[in-house]
Symmetry: C2
Subunit: 384 residues, 2 copies
């Protein structure tokens, strides 16, 4: 009925000054144990909870971190945010989520709202625009980490797209395929562009001539999966295998292939998806574990709060190739990311960052145990 208890009420109840209460709440040293006990008792009794708004008004930086991702409806990003939230809770931080919908204007609006409006203690974002000059005034006080897509000037947590894609395509080549379709090239995403590079790397290495007809392209937004699948299989020299450049494409393609009863083709997907191991034939996947990535990102952000280190750099999170050969069903994790941190990826792309991926992987591993395994993602507690 009365208004919510404030620090003053606690102080009065404990017979001390508000400053002493503040000291107790913030676990400062110089408080007599007996006084501390009295204060804690009063806090308990009144159900006092410190006011975050006043705190961040005073300190200039608040008790939440901001996360801006494409969409929470995307399970990859949802899982990523989940990992972030779990870790943030340990630090006593809350998570403000905002989605960009891949719209640079909305991205700007959301970022400014978080950084300037809510004065978040840090930001993790999946960048959309190529530059974010409006963040400049805040970067001295607010650490920022890019995730999933790297940006110059920001610490970026990404996977080795090019290397992992190469690993996958190599696998198809090793199986004897020479007509490998690159399914769904979407120019909007730099990640996909890098995966295409990996694809081309392997073709060149194997002496296979690149055929542009084997590339499906999303122009802006939608692709007719069924039509594209028919086209690729109907070429004079048809595709015999598919490299699906992202999970969305993989799902669309799988559905299309099932619909036209062409399950005689090989396929590897970038991005794991549930049921990849139930389908016939099983679809091998490059698993980019969102929990690993999310953990690495927040770990990086927390480190940045301590000491805003020198040059921003790219932090590469290992991927795993989940083998699901014809008919044979392998366990979802088959050893897990710990045993299969894509060593071959080092063979292809840019900076391998040993000092980076190792410490990042340690806390990530602990989080993995509290979360569903990647391929069991959809399976978690969806009793809703």
């Amino acid at each position: 009925m009365n208004r919510r208890p404030g620090i003053k009420d606690v102080a009065a109840s404990a017979g001390v000054s508000i400053k002493t209460v503040s000291r107790v709440v913030n676990a400062e040293e110089a408080v007599h144990p007996e006084t501390r006990a009295r204060v804690l008792h009063a806090i308990q009794q009144l159900g006092y909870v410190p006011n975050t708004a006043a705190r961040s008004l005073k300190s200039g930086t608040g008790g939440a971190i901001g996360v801006v991702i494409d969409s929470l409806a995307d399970p990859f990003f949802a899982a990523l945010v989940s990992a972030i939230e779990t870790r943030a809770l340990n630090e006593g931080l809350s998570v403000l989520v905002a989605s960009s919908s891949l719209d640079p204007d909305r991205e700007r609006e959301q970022l400014l709202s978080l950084v300037a409006g809510h004065q978040v203690a840090g930001v993790i974002f999946a960048p959309v625009a190529s530059e974010h000059p409006y963040l400049a005034p805040y970067r001295t006080t607010t650490p920022v980490v890019a995730v999933d897509r790297s940006r110059a000037g920001y610490d970026s947590v990404v996977v080795d797209d090019r290397g992992a894609a190469a690993l996958a395509v190599q696998q198809l080549v090793d199986l004897g395929h020479e007509r490998i379709a690159f399914f769904d090239r979407d120019e909007r995403f730099s990640t996909i562009h890098r995966r295409l590079s990996g694809y081309l790397d392997v073709l060149q290495g194997a002496g296979i001539e690149f055929d542009p007809e084997l590339v499906s392209s999303t122009v802006d937004g939608d692709l007719d999966y069924l039509g594209e699948a028919r086209r690729l299989l109907g070429l004079a020299n048809p595709a015999t295998a598919f490299f699906a450049s992202n999970a969305k494409a993989a799902i669309g393609l799988t559905t299309a292939l099932h619909r036209i009863h062409r399950q005689d083709t090989a396929m590897i997907a970038f991005g794991d998806f549930s049921f990849a191991d139930v389908l016939r034939p099983g679809v091998s996947c490059i698993d980019q574990d969102p929990f690993l990535i999310g953990n690495a990102a927040i770990e990086r952000l927390l480190a940045l709060r301590e000491e805003s280190s020198g040059e921003p750099r790219e932090w590469i999170v290992p991927t795993a190739l989940l083998q699901r050969g014809s008919g044979e069903i392998t366990g979802p994790l088959a050893g897990g990311s710990a045993t299969a941190p894509a060593p071959a990826s080092a063979a292809s792309t840019s900076a391998a960052v040993p000092a980076a991926s190792t410490p990042a992987a340690v806390p990530a591993a602990s989080a993995a145990s509290t979360h569903p395994a990647p391929s069991a993602r959809l399976a978690e507690g969806d009793v809703a």
Copy 2:
């Protein structure tokens, strides 16, 4: 380099008092158009963004709403939060997410942090504990809406579990099945208990005797799907059809059935999941659209901010039964929730709330267009 611009800087730059700037920012009436223009210009030039912390300190209630759900790694809840976030953005509100991990203590911690600490403008939560007495002091100022699981004393947005389950089981009965397994009874969830009621309703209505052996039970946490599937199919009088009480069970069961090559059984699942229409045979699903539910919840919350209406009540969101008969593959939405809002559900359970589900469905429908269709959930932009 300088500190971030405050209202004072804007006032100085525009040659007015800070109060006038405040008036302009808050779109109050009594400001001369010319003055307003000057102020807006200054705001623009300085890149001023109002400080949320100060605002909520003054007003006692902040610019964010809190959402507490089981886990963001669960796609159902992730999509639900996504719907909430989209709508909240329209109102100029941010979203603070927190997960309960189904732990009542953690739920309490998270709720208090949001309500008392962050002074959110409202809370939407999937309740875990059966009671939340600690929320009482805040309920006069902070509206609260329960979602997915209903709680007395709170406006609750749920689906008609009992009715929808009955609809599904009836379908199996109509196909001639008499040995229908209830797969995964989990006592922790009241939703599942209600679904079991629907199951029993139909059996009784059809004159089929209930056989406890046909019920699989999760004791606490894990269930051996493969073992249970074998048991049910190995009974003296074996199961010929399955009602999967939730998406997790459906996925586990599907995987198990595929693994032992028993795709000759019928199955209907509560909760849609991607690939339900690709599997052979197709799995019919009761689709509880998280976007619909999320929209209804935030709509309810916003309404509660206006006028804290009288009695809290239950708001029932319609479900759709997605038919995916044997072999025949139906389009994922096949008309969508608009055309199949489970009319039969009215035949079974508690309060049908016409005034409720109708206005809730209107804004929900608009959001559905900006989001992927339910069954395409996994398919959205997962290019990460």
